[in-house]
Every structure is written in structure tokens, then in C-alpha cells.
Amino acid sequence: MRDKRLTFKKRLHILKHHYRGKKLAPAFNAFHTFLFSPNETTHSGAHVRAVDDLKRTMNTVIMALIPVLLFSMFNAGYQHYAAIDAASGTPRELSVWGNFLTWENFWIGITEVLPLVIVSYGVGLLIEFIFAVIKGHEVEEGYLVTGMLVPLIVPIDTPLWMLAVAVAFGVVIGKEVFGGTGMNILNPALTIRAFLFFAYPTWMSGDKVWVHQAVERAGTPDAISGETILGYLAQNRADEYAYSISDMFFGFIPGSVGETSTFLILLGGLFLIFSKIASWRIMLSAVIGALVMGLIFNGAVDAGWITESSNFYGLMSFEFWKHLIVGGLAFGIVYMATDPVTGAQTNRGKWFYGFFIGFISVMIRVFNPAYPEGVFLAILLMNVFAPTIDHYVVRGNIRRRMKRLKTATIHPKTTDEQAGKLKVETV
């Protein structure tokens, strides 16, 4: 009796054989390999630099994102109730075990964040399946990470249909038109974020969207604030927020769903570095870039070029290192800038690529009058320049080696005739 019962895996396997060569085959294969580990490794694609199955890479990134996701669920509820308390005049003291890790907080988080995750994966994978069936190739795993990143970089109350439209746009225009996973120029998750930002700015910026229900309560007696730290700074109201440095570092602040906890992002980043999935060069150089730009701004304030009457005073006088622990900079650097497809590929190129991401992020943060954050724009900009950076790094290497070749081969003993011949060959 027992051996007649088929396991789920076997059933899938039989189905797979049944549909082999038919139109829907890629859909079955994708489902099968999503649930069970395949016994082959990824063997094609411009982005493959190792013999791992691409899914191992993807799963590692998702594992690194799980703590961030769980924290964001608690934080969503905590910020909501904290804002209500603050509005009623009795600000609550943060206590991690007392009023943070509570079922009440988690419930708000789960009812608000989980739908974002489901819509993101549902729409994104549906489009991937459709394209795989039309183009007749296997479903690509590229969306597994994107689908998890997207809900973490949008405001908590983003309407689900907007997210669905943006995901459809991002996957089709950002990825599929270029040929699918591994061929895209722009990071798909950030394409989705940029689309949302430009298409529905009222839902993506301002002082309401960052805390659950702040938008729908606006104008009523129950109104609560949804302002971020950067928002306060951009309006030169630095003395009005009451978040301590540890709040900022551990993430008990309002912001996009998953971007707040620098601590957990740091852990995720270390995990990705030690599992050799993400490039430490990009992360480190981006941090350096942000610090340099922050120091320049601090210096401008110290030198007296920017006075308190300036619109930029709040953000420019913000201590340079604090830029790393507020807003989306840490999240962007760890999970978005290190995307192996859209980032620089050469080691030297990664330093330039990362440095400018940090540098430009802080610059946009300070100078963008409408929206005091620019990480996604900076990364998209550098995505566009990554191939150019790589091109010049490779050219530089070739030139240097040519020179070395010449000096090594044309030593005094060589006759002029031989030297001339060598020159012709190397040119």
C-alpha cells in the first residue's frame, strides 16, 4: 500500500513529464523547482558568475531579508500606536519587551505588510509566468528577490492596486523588454519604486504616508503625524522630533516598511558578505561616499556658508554619520546597490560605483526640495553608469598590461628588428 502512495514531489514530477514540450511546461517546471531543489545548476545568463543554482543566491538574499520583514511588521504597529499616543499628548516610552514586541503591533503589521508582499509576488510572478509561456523558456528566478524588496521599500499604506500597477510596469518595462533576468539595465525593484514615486507622488511623499492610518485620519480630531526624521530636517524642524540615536539605529522610527532598522540591515549585510553573495566593496565604498558628502555639507555649515535661514540648514547641519542610520540609505546600499545584474562587475569599478551611490544619495537628500530622500534615484543613476565604469576599468587594465608586456619583452638584448615586430603585434 505504502509504495503506491505518491509523494507530492513525485506527483509534480509526473505532471512535469506529462506537460513536457507543451506550452504550459515552464509554469510547471517553475513551480516544481520553487518547492524542491533542482539537480542542475544554472548554465546560462549574462549574470552568472558561479556554478551555484541561481536560486541559492536568491534564497540567501531572502533569508537576509526575513529579520527585516519581521521587524517591519512590529514597527508598523508600534509607529501607529506611538503616533496616536503622541497626538493625545502622552508620548510613549519605548520598551522593546513591553510595548514593541506585542501581538497588537504585530497584528497591524501583518494585516498591512502581508498584503503588500502577496500582491508584489502575485503580480510579479504572474507576469514572469506569462512571459515564460509566450517566449517558451523556463521561468526565471529573478523575481524572487525583487518581490520581497518591493513591499519593504514602499510606505505602509500604499494602495494595493497602485502596487500592482507599479509591479506590472517595473517587471515588463524594467526587465522583460530587455530580455528578462540578467539582462536588465535598471534594478527592477527600484524601477517599481521610481514609478510609484513619479506616478502617485501624494502617496509616496509628504508628512502623512509613513505611519499607518495617518492619511485617512488627516483633518479629523484623531489626526496623527506621519513625518520622518528627514522630513523634519528638510523643514528645518530638527528640534521637533524626539528620536534618540539608538531609536534611529535599531529602527524604532517611521519610514518605508523595511528601511528603518539599520541594525538588522547591517546583520543582513554581514550575512550576505560572509556567504559571498553581495559585494563588500560596493557596501563599504557607498558608506564612504555618503560620509564624504555628509562631511562636505557639515563643513559648509561650520564654515558659515549656510546659515539657519537657509532652506538646506536642517539637512546640511545633520551630523554626517547620522545619514547612514536614517532613511533608506542602509537598505539601499545593502540590498539594492549590490544587485549583481545591474551593479558594476569589475572590482575596481565597484569602488567607483558604490562611492557615487553614497555620495549622490546624500546630495539628492539635501538638495531635493520636494522629497528629502534620494537613495533610489542615486542607485538607478549609477545602474545606468555601471557598464560605462566597467568599460573604462577593463580598458585601463588592458592598457596597463600592454605597457607591462612591452617593458617586459623589449629588454636591451632584443634587437631593434624584434622590438619593431613586437610593437606591430601589440598595437
Binding site: P159, W161, V165, F198, A199, Y200
Partner: protein
């Protein structure tokens, strides 16, 4: 087609689809991106270009045997500039608001690659009647894309068509807006026009694989 021979009717029909100036030749893109946020601006622009290119082709064709080839570009510019100024003045006189929307782009019809391209490629070598048909056809092909892009950009970006609110009132929350729909602000920005043109090219090439170049 009793009125036109097969060859002549192709002069008009080809540029509408398989030899479209925008989607196949990729000419005249700048004005297609700049003025298509509203449908009526697209329509007026399309009519202006039909007028300029149709008449311009006839004039150049009539003069084709007396234009010294060394100064032909200057002659072409004089002809197109004259026609564009007529269009510009008419718009200013009868549709002032619209001419402000179109702003500099009416004047820039002079530099529209499609117009100089047809003068050079067709009118200088063909008779007036065929040149006229070719001019009308190419301008209509250009206008067709403008109107398609303008239709989607105005509908999705502002929720209106030709200024009429077709999706309801976004402020009073009627129609679609009552269930939470919102206008897509990205549609009003030029990058989205490029993406819409790109999607039209995509659809066109999927329907007719003969248009796809070999790599």
C-alpha cells in the same frame, strides 16, 4: 480605389503602418514626446504637420527642376518656414490658449526631421500630385502616433479626453475616483511618452515580424 491607383494609395497607406515615420524611421521624436500630454494638442500638431508637409512637398516638387542643388536646403527651409509661420499665426489668431500650450513646438516644425526628410527623399524626385500624397501620408502617419500617445497620456494622466472628464471628478471623488482610482502623474512627464512610443513599436513589431531588423 477608383480615385487613386494602387501605387498612389500606397504612398498614403504605407507611412500609416509599415513605414511609419515615428515607429519605424524613428524621426520627429522630440515633438512627439513634448506635446502629447493632451489629446487636443496632439491633434492640432498633427493637422499642422499635415498642412505643412502636404503643401511643402507640392511646392518643392514644383520647383524641383529649377532649384540649384547646392542651395536646395536653404530653399527647403524658406518654404517650410513660410508655411510654419502661416500655421503659427493662424493658431495665435484663432486658438490662442492652444498655441500657448504648443509654444515653441509649432516653430520647431521647421526642424522636424520628417519634413526635411520627405523634401529630400521624395519631393525633389517626384511630381506634385504624388509628392502631395506622400506628404499627406507621412504627416498622417506621424499624426496617428501622436494621437494614440496623446489619447493614453491624457486619459491615464489627467483622466480627461479633449478636456472632458471621462473618468469622473478627482476632487469631488465621482466615477472611478470614488473607488480609489488616482491619476498617474508619470503619464504627464515626457519619459512616459517615450515608453508609450516604445510600447507601440513593440506591439507593431510583434504583429509584423518582417519589421524586426536582423542582429
Amino acid at each position: 480605389m477608383a480615385l487613386l491607383s494602387k501605387k498612389d494609395s500606397n504612398l498614403i497607406l504605407d507611412p500609416l503602418a509599415d513605414n511609419n515615420p515615428i515607429t519605424i524611421q524613428v524621426l520627429g521624436i522630440c515633438s512627439a514626446l513634448a506635446i502629447t500630454a493632451e489629446l487636443n494638442a496632439s491633434i492640432v500638431m498633427a493637422l499642422s504637420v499635415i498642412f505643412v508637409l502636404g503643401l511643402g512637398n507640392v511646392v518643392i516638387s514644383l520647383m524641383r527642376n529649377i532649384i540649384p542643388s547646392k542651395i536646395r536646403i536653404i530653399v527647403q527651409l524658406v518654404v517650410v518656414a513660410t508655411l510654419v509661420i502661416i500655421v503659427d499665426q493662424v493658431l495665435k489668431a484663432f486658438a490662442y490658449e492652444l498655441s500657448k500650450t504648443l509654444a515653441v513646438f509649432v516653430g520647431l516644425i521647421i526642424t522636424n526631421c520628417i519634413i526635411m526628410g520627405r523634401f529630400e527623399a521624395f519631393a525633389l524626385g517626384n511630381g506634385p500630385w504624388r509628392s502631395f500624397l506622400d506628404g499627406i501620408g507621412n504627416a498622417a502617419g506621424y499624426g496617428l502616433i501622436l494621437i494614440i500617445v496623446g489619447f493614453f497620456r491624457e486619459l491615464l494622466g489627467s483622466g480627461t479626453l479633449l478636456g472632458f472628464p471621462v473618468l469622473g471628478d478627482p476632487i469631488a471623488k465621482t466615477g472611478l475616483y470614488a473607488i480609489g482610482y488616482e491619476n498617474n502623474g508619470f503619464m504627464l512627464l515626457s519619459p512616459m511618452a517615450l515608453i508609450v512610443v516604445g510600447i507601440i513599436i513593440w506591439v507593431q513589431r510583434t504583429r509584423n515580424p518582417a519589421l524586426v531588423e536582423e542582429n
